[in-house]
Each structure stands twice: as structure tokens, then as C-alpha cells.
Symmetry: C2
Subunit: 438 residues, 2 copies
Amino acid sequence: MKPVKVGICGLGTVGGGTFNVLTRNADEIARRAGRPIIVEQIGARRDNPDCDITGVSRTHDIFEVARNPEIDVLVELIGGYDVAYELVMEAIANGKHVVTANKALIAVHGNEIFRAAAEKGVMVAFEAAVAGGIPVIKSLREGLGANRIQWLAGIINGTGNFILSAMRDEGRSFDDVLAEAQALGYAEADPTFDIEGIDAAHKLTILASIAFGVPLQFDKAYTEGISRITAEDIEQADNLGYVIKHLGITRATGKGLELRVHPTLIPKERLLANVHGVKNAIEVMGDAVGPTLYYGAGAGAEPTASAVVADLLDVARDISTDHRYRVPYLAFSEVNQHGDTLPIMPMEDIETACYLRLQAVDRPGVLARVATILAEQGISIEAIIQKEATEGELVPIILLTHRARELHMNEAIRQLEALVDVAGSVVRIRVEDLDDNA
Amino acid sequence: MKPVKVGICGLGTVGGGTFNVLTRNADEIARRAGRPIIVEQIGARRDNPDCDITGVSRTHDIFEVARNPEIDVLVELIGGYDVAYELVMEAIANGKHVVTANKALIAVHGNEIFRAAAEKGVMVAFEAAVAGGIPVIKSLREGLGANRIQWLAGIINGTGNFILSAMRDEGRSFDDVLAEAQALGYAEADPTFDIEGIDAAHKLTILASIAFGVPLQFDKAYTEGISRITAEDIEQADNLGYVIKHLGITRATGKGLELRVHPTLIPKERLLANVHGVKNAIEVMGDAVGPTLYYGAGAGAEPTASAVVADLLDVARDISTDHRYRVPYLAFSEVNQHGDTLPIMPMEDIETACYLRLQAVDRPGVLARVATILAEQGISIEAIIQKEATEGELVPIILLTHRARELHMNEAIRQLEALVDVAGSVVRIRVEDLDDNA
């Protein structure tokens, strides 16, 4: 059968990995696809020392690949928003299918890209954009297609999980572990996207659209990073039976969709609490299937290439299909249908339990004043830990609350921080039990 | 768009669940499929009290469904080998696509069924046959399609996992927990298929074919049940840092394919060791992606229905496609290609570490005689636990060995059992470290 001809743009970590996997496993892939998948052209300015591209046509102008009439599928692996967007739109305009690992591109420009692709009748596949090699998009979009999805929660940034895992295992500080992660190549020189949750919010935005059939709405995601988590918070959480993970959470409620990334206490015995290091995992709750979980490598050359090539297999199979019969880009044939009934909720309307840590002067009545503020906001307390200290000195007070609305918790924290007995700001980390029926 | 018309045969637990999910989530499913999926006819002798089928055509003769010209897809949920086989072949002969949850049918008759289906150009989908609602077939067949699969190991029988979990958590005996599982409806009145590993071997046979592109060869699977596991073995394994799970394991080696179901010690910290109760999980090792894991409900009405309906979604999308472009039934377009180079290995050629427990008379020199027998078979010892006892009494000796060939271990066990100092038979449970690079 006629081979599928691929043009790879970008020959960095993922581009090199994709080329190597396509080459090394060519026979196996052809048997699965029913036809060979061959790299026809590579568009890249720099070489990749891990990658021998001898014999493959190579250009420094990636837009040449997008216009090459021999190419069936353009694989966009250059990253970033702007040039990648132009490249993908140019490829679509030229009738090429597109495979991309670019989460920022899909989260921010996906709605326009899918519109253009639908008009041209081409596929845009992006399994590698979320959780690297874990086939979570396929599982959610196709494997769980019978379900109304109720919620999903995921560890979808390996750098953040590596940092939190090492802080917990070794009692080290955030800055110390971040420096190690940068030395190991797990974190970028500018780690903002990873540690402030922006990368996770890109991925969560994509997962939410596929789970609930709503348009991509990255600008409405609530995003909070892990840079303020201390070794003490991790230890206190442990005392309470919890582990701190940086989760992306989306949930359908009667009022709309929750869409939020923040550090979260989860019970130690949950599988998600036992996902360590740079690994990723996503737990999905469906109304028919109940909870399912998908675990694996969320980044790296060949794990990400695994997802890119799986998308190429889908393209190879569907390439001769009338595009109306294909799996819809975002799982649902009309993603806007629930745009009105499932608005993204403002963070203030979301209810969670919280872990609070504050530094207070150890004076009679402090605890009563703290408890009164919480009670006035309708927030009830599940547990309090107060370390012993000499009277008059600063002592940490740890509180675990029951579920409360974010709006009320914000007000309580504002009032707590205004108390003369309380020094500095209150640490707040939200808690998710991940109960089957939550 | 024209609806897909489904005929459901069998209205038991899974049949009722499938009807209910298709009905309750009809809108969501139509949005995902791009067309409605409607139940046109039900073939069932008995009613299901959980299921209101008012308004749906119903027949007591399931073969009428297979011949009904209005039906596009026959859903086989009657179970068993014989009638199910005839029904599915009749449906295929009449040009109908088939969706089934029947692992025994696929493991035993799959090769013939797929041959007939390929000739007629129809789909046969069976996601529900393995691990209930977990989309592991789709993940392995499509999501990991870029990879050479190296091994997979799974907890693929919920009944067995429920029994082992309860024995471990509550220190109870096998017979005691089995009786409870039967009372709860987790185990059949005749629990042989579950506890002797036959059900797991059916599922493993299917997974191995999809992972490695070999024909279904259920008759070559090695199968060992959990009925001989004692509370003591579970406790001793715990002391050594292990949990006992009933695993299905398949692995590509230079000599062929391992294909085996047996109780297995696995390290406590592995995710698989933390899969409790009736839940299932499968860990898959691919050469590009590394380890990934899929977790969820392996049985039950709606979890299984979730997989049946996902298959119906695939059929609905592919129904107008030239069948040469579809995902192959067993993942590879030519499943026989490796039939010769990847034979299923005889159990005697497989190498594993082992946990051995024997009852010995506490006499000087016993341990030396035991160690000599192992040494003569080239088996080295990683750990020994010998409980204190009064001299001359029976005392358990626990041994953890390094990896050794099954053939040599069998001979060592034969010689150990022949020792006058050793009473009764030697308990042998294989050990798998599930290391990333194993």
C-alpha cells in the first residue's frame, strides 16, 4: 500500500526522538498501520547529534515543508506560539494533516486551528501535547466515549512532580531541588512555565475540552504554582495523612466547569499520591466506568515520540476516510453545544477543603480568635495542630478545614492575616480527597 | 446523519448495563459519534429488572437478531463458547459488525472469527473482553502503536485480587474470603475460572496477541491459580518487602514469548502492588514510551458497558470506511508474520526469582542440605528467614532466590521435597521486580 510521507519540523529532543522511533521501529509500525510511514523531509535549522538523518531531504526553511507537495503530514515540533501557529496554518492551507506535541499552541490557538482544519478536511492530532507518552487523549476521547465525565485530576507536569517528590523524600527546600532539576535537565533555565503551573494549565485546558465538549478556554483557567510550598508544609501534610501534589483539576458541577491548577493535599493511599519523580498520571471519573487512571512518562524524547507516532498511525489509517467520519478533534462533533450551559466557573465559586498554616504569637486566646474568624465565614475545622512553644514566641498553627467556598476562604485568610497575633501571610493549600463519588 | 442500529443479545448484568448507558447518555454519545446509536432489537430469554426496555423490539431467539436486516451491529453479551460462537459467525455471515465482551470466545475462537470477519469486511471489537472498562486494548493497539512492546503484566481478574487483598488486609484464610466474595457476588458459585487463573489466561492471551502481533494461542498459556496461597505466605512476603498478586505476564525474549498466569511476589512500592479489591490494572513496557499503567474497574455492569459502548463508537465512526484502512483486529495487519520467530515459550524455559516456603525439622544441617540442593541447580539465594523453634520440631524456612530457570527450580523443589527433614510440599511463588529495564 502507498506509504504515508511525513515532514518533521524541528529536530530538537522530541523531533530527534520521533525520527529515531520511526526509523528503528519502521517494520512494526508499517504492520500496525497497514502501510509504511516514511520521513520525506526534515525542516530544522540545527542538527541533532542523537539523530542520523543521512539520506533524508533536509531544509532550513520549515515553511518549505508546509508547501512541499510530496508531504502528506506535517509534524510540528518546534514549540512556542507564533511561528508554530503560522507553520500549522500554512500546512493546513496546503491540505496537509498536522501532528503536533505543542500544548501551548493547541490550548491558545486550537479553536482557530480546528476550524481551518475542518474546512480543509484534514486531521490535527496532538496526543503528545498532554502527558507525553501516556495515551490519555485517545483514552478520554475514544476509550471513555460512553461516559459523562464527572471530573479528572492529573499530575501533568513532570518537573513540578519531580520537585515535590524530592522535597518530600529528602526534606529539602524548593530552591535547592529546583537547582538540581535544572542541572539534570528536568527544568528549563527559566522554569516559570513548569513551576507556576502554566504548562499544566495548557494541558488541563485541552483535557477539559475533550472531557466535556467545550471550546478551549485557557484564559479562564485558574493557575497557582508550587514555588511557595515549604518542606514544613510537606511534613505537616504527611502528619495529617496527605501528600502534596501539583494537580490540574476539572470538574462538571451544576454551576459550570471547574478548571484549576494548584498545589493540592491528597490522601496518601490514593494511587495519584504514589506517582513519583518526573512521571505523570491522570485519574478520570466517568459516570459508567467509575474511576480509571493512566500513568507513565510525561516528557522526554522517546516517550513523547511514542505519542507523536501513535498520531501518525491514526492519520495513516484515516487518510483515505471521509473526514466527517473521523474522531472529532476535541472528541465531540459540536464542541460549542455546551458553551453556554457549562461555563468555566470563577475560582471564587469553587468549594474545596483547605490546609492552612499560619505563624502566630503563642498567647492565650489566639486559637479562639482564629476559630471565630473561620466560623464567621461558615468554615468548619476538621483538625488543628499547634506545636508547643514558649509563651509569647511565634508558633505554627496548622488547620485542616472542611469544604468551603473559595470566596469565604479568601475573606477568612484576609482577616487572619490582619490579626495582630498572626505574623506574615497564611499558607493555603487546597485538599482533594479524590473519592470515587466526590 | 443516519443512526447506527444495534442489536443486543443477552440482557444480563452487562447487557442491561449497556442498554442503560446507551439510553442515559444517548445525547453525549451521539455528539461523540457524529450520529445517534440506537438499540433496534434485543435478543434475550429473560428480563432484567434493572432495565426498562419498553418500546424496543424484543425476541427470545438471539439468532433472529443476527439475521435482522435492520441491524448494523450485533452486540454479543451471552457469554460462553458454543452458542456465542455460532451467533457471532451467523452475524458476520449476514454482514453485521460485532461487538463482544466475551474473553473466552475471543481467546479460544478469535483466529477463526477474525478470518471470517475480514472476508466479509466487518469489524469485530472486544475492548470489554479485557479489564472491563479500562481502555487497555485501545491503548495498547493504537496509543502505544509506535512501540516494540517488551512486556506487560496485569491484575486482570478482579475476584482474585479481591481475595488476595482481603487476605492481606485482614489476615484471613483463602477459603474464608472466597466464601465472602461469593456472598457479595464478586465470585461465581463455581469460582474455578477466576481463582484458577483461566479467566486471566483468556485475557492475557488476547493482550499478548495485540502486543506482539502473534495469533491467539490460549492453549499454550501457563496457568496457576491462587487457591494454595496461605495467610502465612502473604505475611512472609510482607516481611520481605513484597505483596502477592495474581498476575498475567507476557514478555518477548530472545527465545520466544512468555505467556503465564500465576501468583507473583512484587515489590510493595510498585503501583501494581497498590491496586486493591476488585480493581484491575495493567502495566505495559514499550521500547520508546517506557512503562505506562492503566487502572480501573475490571468488571461490573456499567464499567463493562463503558467498553462495549466505546467499541460501538468506533464502529459508528468506521462503518463507512473501506475496511482495509481500519485498525486491525489484533493490532497488526499480518498477525502470523511473527508466528515462527516468536513462539510461546514452554514454562520450563522461563527464568524468574522465587519465594520458597518449606516445613523442615529443626535439626542441625537442614539449612546446609537445602542450600546445597539449590546450589547444585545453579540457584543462588537472596534471603533466608528461619523462625526459631524447639529442636526437632517443624519450622518454616522461607527462601528468596535470585533468577533461575524454571526447569532447574522444578528439579530443586523435587529434591527438597524428597529430603527426610522436609515435611509436605514446598510452596513456590514466583517473584517479578517489574523494573523499568527488566
